[in-house]
Amino acid sequence: MLETNVDQKSFKFKIVLLGEGCVGKSSLVLRFVENKFSCKHLSTIQASFQNKTVNVEDCQADLHIWDTAGQEKYHALGPIYYRGSNGVLLVFDITDRKSFEKVKNWVLEIKTCLGNTAEILIVGNKIDLEEERQVTRQDAEAYAESEGALYMETSAQDNVGISDAFESLTAKMIEHSRTRSTEPPSTNRSIRLIDNDEAERSKKCCR
C-alpha cells in the first residue's frame, strides 16, 4: 500500500481517535468531515468510521478515520481499531484534568503496541470553555514534546483548529511514510504462524 517514494502524491492513511468519554472525539470528526456541530448527539458505542480525502501541499491523502468509544470499559477494544494505524489522535478535554491523565496511558499503550509506526497527535479540545480550563497549554505542549508527539488545541463547537489538526497529522504521516520504509502491520497479509504462547502474549498487550 505504501511505498517509500518521494515522488508519491497520493496516500491512504488510517487514523484512530482515542481518549476518555465525552471529550469530543465524535464532534471533532463530525466537524472535520461534515463541518457540522451538534451539542446533542449519541454516545459512540464500539466505534464509528468516516473517510475523507484531504490535500496537503501537493499531495492527496485518503483518510480512513476510526472514532472509538471512550468509556473505560471499551478500552480492551482499542487494539482492534488502532492496529495498523498510521496516525493516532489522542483527545482530551482541557476542562477535565482526568481526561488528560488518560491520554498519558494511551501514549504508553500506543508506543508499546505500534512502536514508532504511527504518528501521534495530542489534541486539547473544548477551548471555547477557556474559563473552565484545568490543563494549561504549556503543560500539554511540554508533555507532547517529551513524547515526540504533536500538540494542538481545538474547539469543535467554534470550529477552531480542526482542519489544521488533521492536516498537520496528515503532513506528518506523509513525511513518515516517505522517510521510513517500515510497512505498517495492517498491510501485511501474509500468513503468520503464531504459537499459543505468543498468542497469549499478544492478547495481553491489549489491556
Partner: protein, 585 residues
C-alpha cells in the same frame, strides 16, 4: 375470568389492548402470534406483553397484584440499600467514623464517593440518550434512568454498568410510560366499561404511573438476563507478566474468542458464510469481520440500525423467542443479506459506511420474516425481498455518506413489493400520490426557503457551508417524502393483512356456527363475532397527520406523550395530507 371460547390455535386478535389482557387466555403461543402479526405496533399494552413473555408477570391475571407489589418493594429495598446517603440515620453519625475524610472501612462516604464516579459515567450516557426525543430530555426521567442503571450495576457487580445499557433501558421506560398514559386515557374516556370492578383494579395496578421507575427496573433486569451475555468482560486468561510483543498484531478475527460476545460474532460470521457465501467472502476479503462493527448491533439490540417505532416491533418478535441470541444472530445476518447488493458493490470504506450507518429498512415486516426464515427455514417461508433499504439516507434521515453528489433515486423499494400481502393495485393507486407529493414540494420550493428535514442528530447549529446547496436539499426533501409515502404504504399493507386475517377468522366462525349444536355455544360464538366486527371497525392506526416520518426519530416526540388514538382508516389519498400537514418547510 378468561373466556374459554377464544383460545383456538389459529386465532390472532386483531387489536390487542388493555382489556385483551383480561379477555383472552394468555399464553406464550398467543402472544408470539400477536407479536409476529404486528398487532402490538398500535397496541397500548406492549409493555405488559413484554413483561408477560419475559416472566416479570405471571400469566394468571389474578396473581398480578401480588407479583407487582413484590417486585416493586424489592426495587425500593435495593434502592435504599445501594443509593447511600451518609447523613442517613442508619449510619453512625459519629464524626470519627462518618466523615468524608475518615479512612475507616465502615465509613459510608467511601461508598458514596465510589458511587459518584459510577453515577458520573452513567450520567454522561443518560444525558446523551435519544437526544431528539423530548421525553428523554425530562430531568425526572433522566434521574430515573440514572438510578435504575446505578441500582442495576450495584445489584449485578459482575456485569456492572457498561455503555449501551442506557439505550436498552430507554425504550423500556418509554413503552411503559406510554402504556400507562394510554390506560389513563382509556379510563377517562370510559373505554373500560366491559370490565368488572376487580378486573379494572388489576389493570389499575398494572398500569400505575407511580411505579414507572420500579416497573422499568424490573423489566430492564429481565431484558438484561438475555442481553448481559454481550456486556460481559472478556475472560482474562493471562499468565503473569511477560514482555509484550511489538509485532505482529493479530487480527481480531484470528484471536481466540475471549467472551460470549466474540463467540457469537464468530458464529454470525459462520452463519453468514452458510447463507450467503459470496457476501461472506467479499467482506472477509476486505478484512471486515462482524467483530469490527457488530458489537454495537448486538449490545443495543439493533437500536441504532432502526428507527424507534420499527425497533419496538423488532423487540416484540425478539423478546418472545427466548433465549434471544439465536434469533438475534439471524437478524444480524438478515441485516447484512438485505444490503448485499450495496455491500458487494462497495470498497472497504463504502462497506464500513453502510455497516456503521445502516441504510434504513423500507419494510420492516418482510425483514422480520427473513430473519424468522433463517431462524427456522422449515417453519417460516422465505419472503420475496428485492431491495428493501434506502441507501441514500441514514436512519437519522440525513443523507448517507456513501451517496454520490448527484441525487439518486431511492432504490426500487418504494415501488417493488416485498411480501405477498401486497396487491398490484395498491402500487398503481400510489403512483399518482407520489406525483402529488413531489408536486407539492416543488410548488413550495418556489415560495418558501430553507428546508429543514427532520434529522436525528448532527443537527448543525452553525452551518456556514450549507446555504449554497439549496437545490440539492430540495432533492433530499423529495426523497424524504417518497420514503415517507412508502412508510404509509407499508402501513396500508399491514391493514390489508389484517383484513385478510379478519376474513379468515370470519370464515372459521361461520363454520363453527354452522356446526354448533347447543345454544350456549352459539351465544359464545356470536359474542366473538360481535367483538370481531368491533375490532374491524376500530382498526387502530396512528393518525396520519401525526405519523412519525419512518426514518427519522424526530417524529416520535410529537406523538409520544399522548395515548394513541384509534381512528378508522380512511382513503388512500389521505396520504397527500401528510405533505400539507408537515411542519412548515
Amino acid at each position: 375470568m378468561n373466556s374459554p371460547g377464544v383460545s383456538a390455535n389459529f386465532f390472532i386478535p386483531l387489536s390487542f389492548d388493555a382489556t385483551s389482557l383480561i379477555k383472552y387466555k394468555l399464553s406464550d403461543d398467543l402472544l408470539a402470534r400477536v407479536a409476529a402479526s404486528g398487532s402490538l405496533r398500535s397496541s397500548s399494552c406492549r409493555s405488559a406483553v413484554w413483561r408477560l413473555v419475559l416472566r416479570c408477570l405471571p400469566y394468571e391475571t389474578s396473581d398480578w397484584e401480588i407479583s407487582l407489589s413484590r417486585s416493586r418493594n424489592l426495587y425500593r429495598a435495593h434502592k435504599e440499600n445501594h443509593l447511600i446517603d451518609p447523613h442517613d440515620t442508619k449510619f453512625s453519625q459519629d464524626p470519627e467514623f462518618n466523615n468524608p475524610l475518615a479512612s475507616i472501612e465502615q465509613n459510608p462516604w467511601n461508598t458514596f464517593f465510589e458511587d459518584n464516579d459510577l453515577r458520573d459515567i452513567i450520567g454522561k450516557d443518560v444525558s446523551r440518550t435519544f437526544p431528539e426525543i423530548e421525553f428523554f430530555q425530562n430531568t425526572s426521567i433522566r434521574q430515573m434512568m440514572s438510578d435504575i442503571l446505578l441500582v442495576y450495576a450495584k445489584e449485578h457487580p459482575f456485569v456492572n454498568y457498561r455503555q449501551g445499557m442506557h439505550e436498552i433501558l430507554a425504550p423500556l421506560i418509554f413503552v411503559i410510560y406510554s402504556d400507562n398514559e394510554a390506560f389513563q386515557h382509556a379510563k377517562e374516556n370510559d373505554e373500560l366499561k366491559m370490565l368488572t370492578v376487580e378486573e379494572e383494579d388489576i389493570l389499575n395496578c398494572l398500569f400505575c404511573k407511580e411505579y414507572l421507575e420500579q416497573d422499568s427496573y424490573n423489566l430492564f433486569c429481565s431484558v438484561m438476563l438475555e442481553v448481559s451475555r454481550w456486556y460481559e468482560e472478556p475472560t482474562v486468561t493471562e499468565s503473569p507478566k511477560r514482555p509484550i510483543p511489538k509485532e505482529p498484531y493479530m487480527r481480531v478475527q484470528d484471536s481466540a474468542p475471549a467472551s460470549r460476545l466474540m463467540e457469537d460474532l464468530i458464529d454470525i460470521g459462520n452463519l453468514l458464510h452458510e447463507i450467503d457465501p459470496t457476501l461472506a467472502k467479499h467482506l472477509s476479503t476486505l478484512d471486515i469481520p462482524p467483530q469490527l462493527y457488530g458489537i454495537r448491533w448486538l449490545r443495543l439490540l439493533f437500536g441504532r440500525e432502526l428507527p424507534l417505532h420499527d425497533l419496538l416491533f423488532l423487540w416484540d418478535v425478539l423478546l418472545i423467542d427466548r433465549p434471544i441470541a439465536p434469533l438475534a444472530k439471524c437478524m444480524f445476518v438478515s441485516l447484512l443479506v438485505q444490503i448485499r447488493h450495496l455491500l458487494l458493490s462497495s470498497d472497504y470504506g463504502g462497506c464500513l459506511q453502510y455497516l456503521m450507518r445502516y441504510p434504513p429498512i423500507a419494510d420492516i415486516d418482510s425483514f422480520v420474516k427473513l430473519a424468522r426464515h433463517y431462524r427456522n427455514p422449515k417453519k417460516n417461508a422465505k419472503p420475496m425481498i428485492k431491495s428493501n433499504n434506502f441507501s441514500h439516507i441514514t436512519v437519522a434521515g440525513s443523507s448517507h455518506p456513501n451517496r454520490t453528489q448527484r441525487p439518486q433515486r431511492p432504490p426500487a423499494a418504494v415501488n417493488s413489493k416485498n411480501d405477498g400481502a401486497e396487491s398490484p393495485s395498491t402500487i398503481l393507486a400510489l403512483a399518482p400520490v407520489f406525483q402529488k407529493v413531489k408536486n407539492t414540494i416543488r410548488d413550495r420550493s418556489n415560495t418558501v426557503s430553507g428546508p429543514s428535514s427532520p434529522r436525528r442528530s448532527n443537527e448543525p447549529l452553525r452551518e456556514p457551508l450549507r446555504t449554497p446547496q439549496k437545490k440539492d436539499n430540495w432533492a433530499n426533501e423529495v426523497q424524504m417524502m417518497e420514503e415517507q409515502v412508502s412508510t404509509l404504504q407499508t402501513r396500508l399493507n399491514e391493514q390489508d393483512m389484517m383484513c385478510c386475517q379478519v376474513s379468515k377468522a370470519l370464515e372459521i366462525y361461520a363454520e363453527d356456527v354452522r356446526n354448533a349444536k347447543s345454544s350456549e355455544l352459539c351465544a359464545v360464538l356470536s359474542q366473538n363475532l360481535l367483538e370481531l366486527s368491533k375490532t374491524l371497525m376500530s382498526i387502530k392506526t396512528v393518525p396520519v397527520g401525526t405519523s412519525p416520518p419512518k426514518h427519522s426519530r424526530n417524529g416520535i416526540s410529537d406523538i409520544q406523550p399522548k395515548p394513541r388514538d384509534s381512528q378508522p382508516i380512511r382513503q388512500h389519498n389521505e396520504m397527500v395530507d401528510m405533505a400539507t400537514k408537515r411542519p412548515p418547510l
